[in-house]
């Protein structure tokens, strides 16, 4: 075991592991490919046969360029400081891998690698990254141990060189460890790792959490995966859309009255954003400024209190726990039932609880929840909503959620300035700035349609007319509004085809018009927009809702797995007083189900198992919050108390048994204590004897005496101990005899290397053969000779260059 060489290899491995883990955390395969290849090549270039390094000035120049790149990324591309620092450290490490390295450079590499893992740990919640982190920690532990030993030897060598003055340079301290040293080092590493891991677990559990992060990772290039399905705006007519990856977005656990709710055949809609404004210029649905102005920032505690215990008492509550897998955005998803033919009731928030969020913005107008701060990956929150629709308020003739009273008492937020806006309209596609939107009031909210209005209205009227329905275009609400919406949704489901091709609209034509009258096929957003357009053309308030369709139920964990490919859009229609906003899904159900169907087979089962483990990792480790902490500590305290009680009871029983035994055997307490001590001593002696026996067996095995008769074996084992001592000395100094090599061959090999230095080995080997096979008895003179040879061997082994 050459610690210096091993240390260099381990540092190289650790740096590469850090780079790979960082690229994984950023989900950047391109960076992984480039940085990994450059880093891996560095070993061949610097440590290979030619061993070339780049000069220091070029490394310094590269570091300056990397700093410029860092500044450019942070200021130009507005990349988060964490991601930018990750890139910066990767570049620095790659540069340093190619330069000539002393202990100082190796120390810098280790610190840089550690910094990189810190930044990567902020970015990633993946269990694969967690596994990488674990491997990294193990490698880092061994590396630091060996690096410390190597640097200590180097420091000693440097001091000796300095002290030597003129003359030949002193011999470098020997970093070649023996087999025993390796064993002891491995044992120490295991013990240190176990202790460190245990203490780390304890610190992890008891460290207080505030739950409030100071980082904003919502930028466009901050390592979060691009989302093919869900977004805060919907832009139509942009050509084909992908199905999105099958990467899990979130896990949804549903329960009602404390019982789990969920089934592989039952789907739910995970509602993200309600979009009430359509811009015909860029064909984009977005949230109107009027809706944004209704947002109120509410403390999570207030929402929780207002969650409505009263509603729960009256109607019962659905509860959902949403565990986000990764940092995405500030949207908070709610849950609604999948609508059937007549639609399903819209979402009405009754309670909200989270350990990761202090406050959220909530709009009773569109039941829109949104985080006011970035939530670091792996956050979770819990929602509650009534099972049955809320009561009807006859005074206001509006459906009232339990939070509405709270909202009325809450100060309305002023319209947000552009710079600080965190509204959903802040995407680069649609900006509220400078956009001329019609003035919206509560009466005109989600009403009106100005794109091919007459044509769409005629289509809608013809459809409802066939169903025997009519609608007054001027009426705000009519009792048939929901029936009309239902007919129109049914019409789209039956006469239009679901397709992900998303054809580009005809030149100068609106995509919705192209969908309704020309192509008659499209994806879910076109279906939802078409239904909203037809409803609005008839005077019925309608809006788009985007989110996910949760249909993949993980039976192992009892929760729904929502993936990016499950992104979906649907329509919400206002049914008027007494009904409220009702959810309609005009997309052909069978097509959507086929599209979202989870693959079957053992691979999918395996994947489900992996995702369950990863979910547990996220919930127990990544999303470990103060609530979980309290629960864990409470459970731990109770467990310890229970163990204490059990131990007390057990000792009491043992004491009683001992006293009973004393009564039965007429022993006094003193005798019993003496007996116990005697038994303990016997046990200890047995352990020591066993250890001694095992040691003796090992020595006999090394001397290959195990097949001899017992007395001969013991006798030779004692007399040949000097040979094992000699082997130990040689082993300490890097000369280990392989098992296949005979003692004579070993001695010959050593003397060929250095005839004078290993003279004692030859003498001791000859004595070994004499004793082992020549029946030679050793006397006091032999013992003195053996001691002299061993001392000389130790001396020559230490002063190996003399």
């Amino acid at each position: 075991m050459n610690t210096a060489l091993l240390c260099r290899k381990l540092i190289f491995t650790q740096v590469l592991l850090g780079i790979v883990a960082s690229c994984m955390a950023e989900r950047s395969p391109g960076l992984l490919l480039v940085a990994g290849a450059i880093g891996a090549m560095s070993w061949y270039v610097t440590e290979g046969p030619r061993g070339r390094t780049i000069p220091r000035w070029s490394v310094n120049l590269g570091a300056l360029l990397a700093m410029a790149w860092l500044a450019g990324e942070m200021m130009g591309r507005r990349v988060s400081v964490v991601v930018a620092m990750g890139h910066f450290t990767i570049v620095l490490q790659l540069l340093m891998l190619y330069m000539r390295k002393t202990d100082r450079e190796y120390t810098q590499l280790l610190v840089l690698s550690l910094l990189q893992m810190i930044s990567a740990s902020v970015l990633s919640v993946s269990m694969i990254y967690g596994i990488f982190l674990g491997i990294y920690c193990v490698v880092a532990l061994v590396t630091v141990l060996l690096f410390h030993l190597t640097t200590a030897a180097d420091r000693v060598h440097a001091a000796n060189v300095k002290a030597a003055g003129v003359g030949p340079r002193p011999v470098r301290p020997e970093t070649q460890g023996s087999l025993k040293a390796r064993r002891h080092l491995i044992g120490s590493t295991v013990v240190f790792g176990f202790v460190c891991g245990t203490i780390a677990a304890a610190v992890f559990i008891v460290m207080p959490r505030t739950g409030k992060s100071g980082l904003d990772l919502t930028g466009p290039a901050n390592g979060s995966p691009r989302q093919a399905g869900f977004s805060n705006t919907v832009q139509l007519g942009t050509g084909p859309i992908g199905t999105g990856s099958r990467e899990p977005m979130l896990n949804l656990t549903l329960s009602s009255h404390g019982q789990p709710v969920g089934h592989p055949d039952e789907a739910w809609l995970v509602r993200g954003v309600a979009l009430d404004h359509y811009n015909p210029q860029n064909h984009t649905w977005s949230r109107s400024n009027f809706a944004i102005a209704q947002d109120r920032v509410v403390a999570v505690d207030a929402l929780d209190r207002a969650g409505a215990a009263s509603v729960g008492r009256r109607t019962g509550l659905y509860e959902a726990e949403v565990a986000l897998r990764d940092v995405r955005h500030r949207a908070i998803f709610s849950v609604v039932s999948v609508p059937f033919r007549r639609g399903s009731s819209g979402f009405v928030l009754a309670g909200f609880e989270s350990d990761n969020l202090y406050d959220v913005s909530y709009s009773p107008l569109d039941q829109q929840l949104r985080a006011t701060e970035t939530v670091i990956g792996g956050s979770s929150y819990r929602l509650a909503w009534p099972i049955t629709p809320p009561r009807h308020d006859p005074k206001t003739e509006r459906k009232v959620s339990p939070l509405d009273e709270l909202m009325r008492q809450t100060k309305v937020n002023p319209p947000r300035s552009e710079g600080t806006s965190f509204s959903f309209n802040n995407s680069s596609v649609v900006s509220p700035r400078g956009e001329e939107t019609p003035e919206i009031t509560i009466q005109t909210y989600s009403r009106g349609w100005n794109v091919e209005t007459r044509r769409i209205r005629e289509l809608a009227q013809s459809v409802i007319r066939e169903a025997g329905l009519e609608r007054d275009l001027q009426a705000l609400h009519t009792p048939d509004d929901l029936a009309i919406a239902s007919v129109l949704a049914e019409y789209l489901r039956e006469h239009y085809e679901y397709d992900l091709v998303n054809p580009v609209p005809l030149r100068g034509q609106d995509p919705i018009v192209t969908f309704l009258f020309e192509r008659r096929r499209g994806h879910c957003e076109l279906f939802a927009a078409g239904l909203a357009a037809m409803c609005r053309s008839l005077g019925i308030p309608a809006r788009l809702a985007t989110g996910f369709r949760a249909s993949e139920f993980n039976t192992i964990g009892g929760y729904y797995v929502v993936r990016q490919s499950n992104a979906h859009a649907w329509t919400e229609v206002d049914g008027g007083p007494g009904s409220g906003w009702v959810t309609f899904d005009s997309t052909p159900t069978a097509s959507v189900q086929a599209e979202h169907r989870a693959p079957e087979g053992w691979l999918s089962t395996l994947r489900a198992a992996y995702e369950h483990i990863e979910f547990a990792w996220i919930r127990r480790v990544v999303a470990f919050d103060s609530r979980t902490q309290e629960q864990f500590l409470e459970n731990a305290y109770q467990s310890i108390a229970a163990i204490g009680h059990r131990a007390e009871a057990w000792f009491g029983r043992v004491r009683d048994q001992v006293f009973k035994l004393g009564h039965r055997t007429h022993f006094g307490r003193l005798q019993i204590v003496a007996l116990s001590i005697g038994l303990l001593g016997l046990g200890l002696a047995a352990v020591l004897l066993t250890r001694s026996y095992l040691n003796r067996r090992r020595r006999l095995a090394r001397l290959q005496l195990t097949r001899l008769p017992g007395d001969r074996r013991r006798d030779l084992g004692k007399r040949l101990g000097f040979y094992l001592t000699m082997l130990d000395i040689l082993d300490r100094h890097g000369h280990r005899r392989p098992d296949w090599q005979s003692p004579r061959d070993f001695a010959d090999q050593l003397t060929r290397e250095h005839p004078l230095r290993f003279d004692p080995v030859v003498a001791l080997t000859e004595l070994f053969y004499d004793v082992r096979f020549g029946q030679r008895e050793t006397d006091a003179a032999d013992h003195q000779l053996i001691q002299a040879h061993l001392k000389r061997l130790e001396y020559t082994a230490v002063n190996r260059h003399e």
Binding site: N160, A163, A200, V621, V798
Partner: protein, 458 residues
């Protein structure tokens, strides 16, 4: 090893080395933040700050690992070096500029292995003085730094030997007082040091150089082959005379013919061989001026112009020591007299112990002592070779009042007498260019022999 060792003023004779080590008790134990400790703490605090700022749970885990590392370091420091015994083994003599075999026997009687053990010589830190600033000794300028040895691993119950490279730079008495054993395993965070007291003195001879091959022959009147026979009986091979037999005479020496003729036992007496003689006088009565002027030869001109009087005197002592060693190897009986300094006068003899005595006396010369310039004439008249700090003479010096001549060897013409010219001021300078040079500096012909000699005379 049954050699006599001194420790705590106690002399161990015929004591096994392991017993000596076991008897060694550390006098002081010290625990402090190690060299990597500050960096470790900074990184730990950085992880903690990042964890609180980002609330990323993995960073809390990482901080826990660093806390674990700190606890492990404290625990390791608590148990490390317990039961460790160290014994220094040094020869009695060394030579300036030569490697000194400084070895340590280390025994671990604890039940845990120790790793990364640094053994360092420490001087000037006696008990209660370790807090004094700048108390690190410099061994009187004889060493450029503290010799250090290193052990990668020492298992429980194991004894190992390690060596510290040590190269004295000047002649004199080198005193080793304390052994500092330290480790900062596992992470370099905590540095634990234990101190052992073991005092050893090493007599460091002057620099020994290879004298030119013909030098000794040219300096002495008879040359190196000038072995003579004395006019008296001895153990030689030539016939000297006969005398009556004395009890104790070898029967082989009986002259049987003469015995038969005279009727009394008569023994033959053989001549006594006499080895060549070298009476060396080291004249240190006056110190030459700071710079030596005059002719210079070759590459030593720069050195000569820079050589101070003290350096020339040191050269003269080195020249004398080199001549003594050369003469001893060639079978000369060597006598030594030092003029200017008191009590240094040895009759000519030829033995290893005599040579060692001469070198010891040269090593002990204190040039700071007041000089006695009134040397008696007979001292000068008994000289075959006079070594002094000035210029040498190519012609023999005729001594006053007698017909004898003496050769004068001058330290200023150093390169005339040694086969490899050496810049002594560079040797004495702590900032020598040789240190990082790939050129090997000149070594004396006794480089190997000095080690053996030191072992033999220990």
């Amino acid at each position: 090893m049954a050699a006599a060792r001194e420790s705590h003023g106690k002399t161990f004779r015929s004591t096994p080395i392991r017993q000596i080590i076991i008897d060694m008790k550390p006098v002081r134990t010290r625990v402090r933040i190690g060299s990597g400790g500050v960096l470790y703490l900074i990184v730990s605090l950085m992880i903690l700050a990042s964890a609180f700022y980002t609330q990323a749970n993995l960073l809390f885990w990482g901080f826990g690992l660093t806390v674990g590392g700190l606890v492990v370091s404290l625990g390791a420091a608590a148990v490390a070096l317990r039961g460790l015994g160290v014994s220094r083994i040094v020869p009695r003599h060394g030579a300036a500029g030569e490697a000194l075999a400084l070895r340590y026997h280390v025994h671990n009687r604890g039940w845990l292995p120790v790793f990364g053990v640094v053994i360092r010589e420490d001087q000037g830190r006696r008990r209660g003085q370790h807090k004094k600033a700048g108390s690190v000794g410099t061994w009187g300028g004889m060493l450029a730094g503290a010799p250090q040895a290193w052990l990668l691993h020492l298992g429980p119950g194991q004894t190992a030997q390690t060596a510290a490279p040590c190269r004295p730079q000047r002649r004199g008495k080198l005193r080793f007082e304390q052994i500092e054993v330290s480790t900062s395993f596992p992470f370099g965070v905590i540095h634990k040091t234990v101190m052992f007291v073991q005092e050893n003195d090493v007599q460091v001879f002057p620099h020994l150089y290879r004298a030119r091959r013909q030098l000794l022959g040219s300096l002495t009147a008879g040359g190196v082959d000038s072995a003579q026979t004395l006019d008296r009986g001895g153990g030689g091979g030539d016939f000297f005379g006969v005398r009556p037999y004395r009890p104790g005479d070898s029967p082989r020496n009986i002259d049987w013919k003469r015995t038969a003729r005279t009727g009394e036992l008569v023994a033959r007496e053989l001549t006594m061989p006499s080895p060549p003689l070298l009476n060396l006088v080291l004249d240190l009565r006056e110190t030459p001026p700071m710079a030596v002027s005059g002719k210079s030869s070759g590459g030593l001109s720069g050195v000569q112009s820079a050589a101070s009087g003290r350096q020339l005197e040191e050269r003269a002592i080195s020249l004398a020591a080199s001549l003594i060693c050369d003469a001893y190897l060639r079978g000369f009986k060597v006598g030594l007299k030092v003029l200017g300094l008191p009590d240094v006068s040895f009759r000519a003899q030829h033995s290893l112990s005599h040579r060692t005595q001469l070198l010891e006396s040269l090593a002990d010369l204190d040039l700071n002592q007041p000089r006695d310039e009134s040397a008696s004439p007979d001292l000068r008249q008994a000289a075959d070779v006079v070594v002094w700090a000035g210029r040498g003479s190519s012609l023999p010096l005729r001594l006053d009042g007698t017909g004898r001549t003496a050769s004068v060897v001058g330290a200023a013409d150093f390169d005339r007498y040694v086969s490899m010219p050496t810049a002594l001021d560079k040797l004495e300078s702590s900032d020598a260019k040789w240190r990082h040079s790939t050129r090997r500096p000149p070594r004396s012909a006794f480089s190997g022999g000095v080690q053996q000699m030191m072992e033999a005379t220990a």
